[in-house]
Amino acid sequence: MKKNFLFYLALLASKLTMACLRLLGRKGTNLPGGVAIFLCKDFLGRMPRPKTVVGITGTNGKTTVANMVEDVLEQCGRQFVCNKNGSNVDTGVASALIAESTLLGKPKKELAVFELDERSSNLTMPYIKPDLLLVTNIFRDSYKRNAHPEFIVDILNRYVPDGVKLVLNADDLMCASLKPGNPRAYFSLDPQPGERSGGENIVQDVRVCPQCGALLEWELRRYHHIGRARCPQCGFGSPQGDYRAVSLANGAMQVEAGGQAFSFPLPNTSTINVYNALSAVALLREFGLEPGEIAGAMERTAISGTRYLEEEAGGRKVILHLAKGQNPVACSRAFQNIRDYPGRKAAILFLDDYFDAAHTVENISWLYDADFEFLTDPSVTQVIAAGARHWDVYLRLLMAGAEPDRTAHLLDPEAAAGALKLEEADAVFILYDVYTIPLANRTKERVKELMEKEGEKNERHEN
């Protein structure tokens, strides 16, 4: 698309908006992009794109992976524009491009790395035309926005341009089947020694062969539909990974690619974060970085503390764990992480949608797609649900088989820490949504105070 009068008007207005916001000391807003798109609907299509555009999309993990990829590129001395401080929809992408362009819209950087919301691919992909696109996975997400995975698959198939090189999850048959005509590289995590096949999840969105409809046979079902499957009728199955994590040990993963093996450090060893790190490695290799460069930079990267954070107080652990509300798969992963964490654990759940809690009655259907059953494990000594929908979460816990004397529920989230039976737990998990980070932090501090008091009490008792 060519630049026209409306484009220049929109660019000028958005630049002025940006300057005003800077004067007011505000950064990381989508407003300039919003102004541009309001004035010129196809602004993104007319805005000159950097020479190379890398996109990161998918249901879960895209922010973590985008942060990882950006950290590695930065440490490797690459200059790029990204939407880290804005949103992952069209206005966020437009804001990032506007911020890093000249007065006439010429890009100041040759590389762009964008986290892209999969649901609004129709508003971004056809315009920015990524050269390389990573799709981390495709799962159920917010029913309101994303409906169901087939809907998201259809959107991506329709709006990701032909010819875009894809980096896809070979262990996710829905993801692996995207845009069959496009060039692609797959990443895959090999079955690990002693790894149990799942089958414990409520949500399983790939049960039958996408080609012929026969029931799939699973060599390994890691969680939900992630794993290795094969159709006994037509032979269709999970593709082989071009980047295979073959072993995990000592905080690192061994990746085989192109007949060679390389070791990459893992910032976190939970399975979802292994997939996140592996997908980042595959994307960065396809981009052209050398394995040594990637490994060296990954040594210095960490998962953002706003997503996962462990702290210690009074000899116990308090763990902040992001669990995106209305996303049953993300919450199920968090619940399973709690179950699998060593020792006795208590969990405080802040699962309400922040905005719905204030203005309406939240659609609680998603609670019944999330695997609360993991929280009924004997090692989970207490579960506390707090917030507007606490009765609903309590009911869901009872439906999962939770013992009423191991659960507590209350309206006021600020009082959740006070309901803890600390003497029974070695660690306390706090699960929260992206909009309740301040609440989670305040609760963490209260829990730490209680832990310290409990620690002192125990010390006095021992003396």
Partner: protein
């Protein structure tokens, strides 16, 4: 209550939005009832016998077409069962499968089974989300809608829940869902039965349960009251 059977149609496809917990809750209320899951590749139980309840939950749009094709040969049998008073519960877009037709954005029609007098129209890029408050035999019913379609019933159609607040079958319609004998069909999705104890008691009665009692009754009741209170305060 012995000998009760709950047939769940095509749970490998019709399983969106946590709706299968409606069946899990019925199983908890009726511990002696037998649950029979019928896969799309199998022959439905209702062909041979009349189950106490036939349940079908929401599905993707492509799955709707597969399900319609699967049920088409059994249309007459389903009509018989409805007329005989067999209980049916359809949640979410499962209702459309039994309707007259589903119109797509390009104007093309997908014929349904023609057992419910309504036609639906899809708009895949505009999803409707809302909270619904209706009436069920003098008690308030609360639920959630999240759908790509709106539906238009024929004049003879019997509505299920009169609208108190929110959107019915379409924004101008005065009721949500449809009823035929003991067939209860609603666009409300998710754990409708866990959320509405009064309606659940009626379903249990329609299934033939004598003096039905609800599992986790006090918690279900208090959660319902809390939701209704919240709705009146906030919506």
């Amino acid at each position: 209550m012995s000998g009760m059977k709950i047939e769940v149609l095509f749970p490998e496809f019709c399983n969106l939005f946590g709706d299968l917990f409606n069946v899990k809750y019925l199983e908890k209320c009726l511990p002696e009832a037998q649950r029979v899951d019928t896969p799309l590749s199998g022959q439905p139980l209702f062909v041979q016998e009349a189950p106490s309840l036939i349940y079908m939950g929401p599905m993707s749009e492509r799955s709707q077409e597969k399900v319609i094709a699967k049920l088409k040969p059994y249309r007459q049998r389903l009509e018989e069962l409805i007329q005989e008073g067999t209980a049916f519960l359809l949640t979410g877009n499962a209702l459309e499968v039994l309707g007259n037709s589903i119109e797509q954005e390009d104007g093309s029609q997908i014929p349904g089974l023609g057992l419910l007098p309504l036609r639906a129209r899809r708009d895949m890029m505009h999803r409707h989300n809302s909270v619904f408050l209706g009436d069920w035999q003098g008690q308030e019913v609360i639920g959630f809608k999240s759908q790509f379609t709106m539906a238009w019933p024929e004049e003879k159609a019997q509505g299920l829940f009169p609208v108190k607040k929110g959107v019915g079958l379409n924004p101008k319609e005065g009721f949500e869902g449809l009823r035929r004998q003991n067939l209860f069909a609603t666009y409300l999705l998710g754990p409708v039965l866990l959320m509405n104890p009064g309606f659940t008691r009626s379903i249990l009665k329609a299934m033939g349960a004598e003096a039905p009692s609800l599992a986790l009754e006090s918690v279900v009741q208090t959660a319902w009251e809390s939701r209704i209170r919240d709705f009146h305060e906030k919506c």
